[in-house]
Symmetry: C2
Subunit: 332 residues, 2 copies
Amino acid sequence: MTATMADVARLAGVSKKTVSNFFNGYPYMTAETRARIESAIETLNYRVNISARNLSSGRTGTIALAVPEVAHPYFAELAQAVVSVSQRHGLNVVIELTDGDHDRESALLRGDGGRYVDGLLFHPIALGPDDIESSTLDIPVVLIGDRVHGGRFDYVTVANVQGAAEMTRYLLQRGRRRIVALGMEDSDLPTAAALRYQGYRQALGEAGSDVDKVLTVGPIPWNRASGAKAIGELVNAGASFDAVFGFNDALALGAMNELQRRGYEVPGDLAVVGFDDVEEAALAFPPLTTLNSGRDWIAERAVERLAERLVSDELKPEVFVAAHALVTRSTA
Amino acid sequence: MTATMADVARLAGVSKKTVSNFFNGYPYMTAETRARIESAIETLNYRVNISARNLSSGRTGTIALAVPEVAHPYFAELAQAVVSVSQRHGLNVVIELTDGDHDRESALLRGDGGRYVDGLLFHPIALGPDDIESSTLDIPVVLIGDRVHGGRFDYVTVANVQGAAEMTRYLLQRGRRRIVALGMEDSDLPTAAALRYQGYRQALGEAGSDVDKVLTVGPIPWNRASGAKAIGELVNAGASFDAVFGFNDALALGAMNELQRRGYEVPGDLAVVGFDDVEEAALAFPPLTTLNSGRDWIAERAVERLAERLVSDELKPEVFVAAHALVTRSTA
DNA sequence: ATGAAAGCGCTAACAC
DNA sequence: GTGTTAGCGCTTTCAT
């Protein structure tokens, strides 16, 4: 019942190939032919069947973006950038939600859903390097994320250690001495939490300060609610501190919110800083000092790298590290 | 070079059909056969070619979600809910960004990209009822949004007029008399802006108050920056008011931020309320009083309705209006 | 600048 | 429970 290319060809009095040429922008065609085809398409209300094209051409024109969630501001802004760049490259993007779940992340690298995209942009958070190396997926994959990895896959990543060190140094320069590391993780795995914590320790070390374990707390997940909760508990426990370094903006914003609620002045009584520079950081009250971790560049680089891999399989794996920049606003 | 189902069948010593059965969860199969197939899949590292399945079955198992942008908290949370519900229904979601652009929204309803999804979930903001009625798309479409429309398509929508009236009444009850309508649009088109403004006027009318045009401003786009800017200009112009009703949370939050920056106390000097109840409303300082407009229900209802339409084409167009609820927090 | 024929890898209908 | 046969609607190659 739905019209096919053959129907269009018949009505226009040309061959299927010519209609196909029309849709694929093949330039050599008489205006006459073109007009007949256009009119046939119009009267039949014809649309190219992309499934047929995909089977025939061996490509889908679609990539998957796999993230833990998309409601989180960081991932929402990442997804926006990814989809937007992809559209410019003529690629569709399907969103896969992993929920940060180990099994769902593994399933992606096993290609459990079947072969339905040309490539995968993947921001894992539950998988370790070994899980990742053991992938059996046979389409191009570009990893995005906080971790520096550098195995069989391309990796587009944040300068976690340097960024966190820079932010910590900034606080130290401003005279802050007792800095809460909110979101830390003491692990050898290259997670964002561990790497940012490493940068924090490094900067303290340079300054000749010791890490006070009382001030290092690791709320999970990294959202406002857990930031608020963790800092509240720290205050309740009687900890003394003069700055809070949230390992992402949500943690920092949640903490700031809770501290204000308890009557502290920011930055008068306490400095609060974040990491990532999501949009809401600029619009908080007061506007949050944070670190731009290069999210848009990451999205663009990752899509472009994947697009290159779609075309060539000669590429050696590379690690791309985004530039970062301190964004000083009002909270420190 | 990539293995096909025929290769698997050959290696397992069964027919293609049996392998197909395996992948489609057909239950009647000896454990023996199943094991042979599994082992063949393993050794060949075989993945189902979804393009071939799609062509053959006439379905893609994918729907498109078309929104102006996905970085905006409202749409990010909507997308999260849509993708999550869709996954439960075994559907993939590709995100289409329209940027609120009239041409790009029209293109979607013309099916310009070809037939690549089974259905479309569409949140238009630039199209009028006429544009929408003139769609030539021949796949199921479910419209989402602020506007109550009710034409050839299903519509899942927010109770704009009632919600805005309820919020305005609430402010009046709390003794606020000069309420800024931030985001209003004086139009006959059923836009969110016009409908919420209509609710605002209605509540004022019930209370015997007149609308003071000075207090109705319509910043665009509906984000924090324009909310901040608009309220700043109002203050600069010397307007006197005791409450701000932001027609979405971003406007309200931006306005609150700007007012705090200028030294006003919220809610002491001024009440501020929003609309939508995005996550950040709860986490602002102070937490924003707003109206839950039923976003998650909308996502769920829309996906389910689309899923129903994928199966049956006997359905008459319906309008589904989400329940709303006042969420009283600290700002009014 | 356009046509003819083959085939992409699967599912569907029906047979056994 | 499993096999056989036909396509699904395009793109591709090669010809003209």
